[in-house]
Amino acid sequence: MNHYNRLYQALAQQCSEAAIEWLKQALNAIASESDPTAKHQIASAMAKRKVGDQAVTLTLELMGEEPREICHWSSADCSRILLNLALIDTSDKPLTSLLSEIYAQGDERERAALLMGIPVLDPDAQWLVEAEDCCRTNSLLLFSAMVMHNPYPARHFSSRAFNQLVLKALFLGLDIAHIEDLQARYNSELSVMCADYIDERMAANRDYPASIWLAMRLRDCRPGTANLLADCLTAQDVGKRYYAALALQHEPDEQTEALQKIIKQQAEQETDPEVQAALTKLIESKRL
């Protein structure tokens, strides 16, 4: 089943009859009328009020990957992605100009739907330059839509654009554990950028984001960084402890005796079950 049918089916099963009736008419109008763009504009704008904004669950194969369950797209998002697919189907304009037009004319939520659905709408990354440009937004919603739980950036973005995206996510206070394939796209440049960011924050007497360690490897950082990471393992903040343990799982190199000792000590006295689980996994996987 293609994306269009899967989206439609998920909505049909999870939305009211009136909502689906409206959606069906809108999709037909886009497919059959002489000015599909105008029909699409109005339908897309009204979709949230007509179809609602409740959670929807569906299974999709994004960009040829294994099928995955998606549950962070609402019924409004799904409808808008569907309406976009319908317009792409009928219009004789090139995909890139069509996507740019839809993006330009959408409000924040419509734009967010386009960005969340970009693996469906543009699997071959014809719109890549524009997609990278969208990350310049000041909107947390738009940025999250492109960056969090979205396989498109890791698959298509240049290293430079990908690194910028990671740093901006940290900057905005987002948890970079939700960036897909972060580990696969890791590069030493990322460590340098993140280490600089930690320095900058500490120089200003401010804390740095706990998840930042996920984008760093000790071998690419200057000496002394390991001590900072060790401090996080025993920090008061549970997030700091959790991400330090998680990051160490991704470390390719064997840890120093001193660090190994701290890990084992912490595992004995850790009170948070999730941090405890991460430490146990770390100890097992690294055979400490």
Partner: protein
């Protein structure tokens, strides 16, 4: 006390204003599309302006915990540029369909010309089509004639009076609209329009039913804190907190709620720090939701 400013042009205000407004209890605003102090020369300028109201200004307000809604329309001054007006009216429907748009407006008369008549009528038709309320301003000059003409136009267009607010009313024009069933808007604007004591006197004389107060603050000498200032004077003059809340919070929201795109509960809901929520709910819990909507 929670306040709502139902008519304010935030694009021309500073972040200090936003900060002071939030501190004074203003939790939400409606920004009507209007002119920019000088005439625009093409439809593209309107597109960028409308997008600014829906996008950037909404974001700016959210930084201060203030909910930002807008109304969309072609103002009468620029309706007199007929060619451009036609282009603007053509793109207007796609904006009227948007979620953050809670009315058509501000429209109405300026010099009361045939071109203004046409634009007003065309936009009231659109309001009916999109089931939106209408914000109509009354002209600065020849105000009594303008107000009467406005009421006739509403009747001619067949728009239900409860779907209309007639704005910038004063001691002379408020009595004219009392029997028509429209909502009554008052702009507390230094020097021209109304002052706080005059407003309180009108409330004492005419009651609180369908009465709405705004600052209409814009790029001119104006004051974005006029709504809370009226609230304070109402309290000082013996009005109850319930009455203040009715006029300065519930009435305007109830009017715009007829769009189906805003309601009291939504405006009263406490704000959440989106990244914080993300962090707390999903970081350690491993769940999926993307930023609260």
């Amino acid at each position: 006390m929670n306040y709502f400013d139902p008519h304010i042009h935030m694009v021309s205000r500073t972040t200090d204003d936003y900060e002071n407004m939030a501190a004074a209890g203003i939790v939400g605003v409606v920004e009507p599309a209007f002119w920019q102090g000088q005439p625009r020369t093409n439809v593209g300028s309107f597109i960028d302006y409308y997008d600014l109201l829906l996008g950037w200004e909404r974001f700016r307000a959210s930084q201060f915990g203030i909910l930002h809604y807008c109304t969309m329309g072609l103002n009468p001054k620029e309706a007199n540029n007929r060619e451009m007006a036609r282009d603007v009216l053509n793109i207007l429907p796609r904006y009227l369909a948007k979620d953050g748009v809670v009315a058509v407006g501000e429209i109405g008369y300026d010099d009361i010309t045939p071109a203004e008549d046409e634009a007003l009528l065309a936009q009231m038709e659109m309001a009916k089509e999109f089931e939106l309320p209408v914000l109509i301003h009354t002209p600065h000059r020849d105000k009594v004639t303008g107000t009467k003409r406005t009421l006739d136009a509403i009747k001619d267009a067949g728009v239900a009076p409860e779907m209309v607010i007639v704005d910038h009313l004063n001691e002379l024009t408020l009595p004219l609209v009392l029997d028509s069933g429209v909502w009554r808007g008052h702009s507390i604007y230094p020097n021209t329009k109304m002052s706080e004591p005059r407003m309180v006197a009108l409330l004492q004389q005419y009651g609180t039913e369908r009465m709405v107060v705004n600052s209409a603050a814009d790029w001119g000498k104006s004051d974005p804190l006029k709504v809370p200032k009226v609230g304070q004077l109402m309290l000082d003059s013996g009005f109850s907190e319930e009455q203040v809340s009715k006029v300065l919070f519930e009435n305007p929201i109830e009017f715009y709620a007829q769009s189906g795109r805003i309601n009291l509960a939504e405006v009263q809901r406490p704000k959440v720090d989106q990244t914080q929520q993300w962090q707390e709910n999903s970081a350690l819990r491993g769940q999926t939701p993307i930023v609260e909507k």
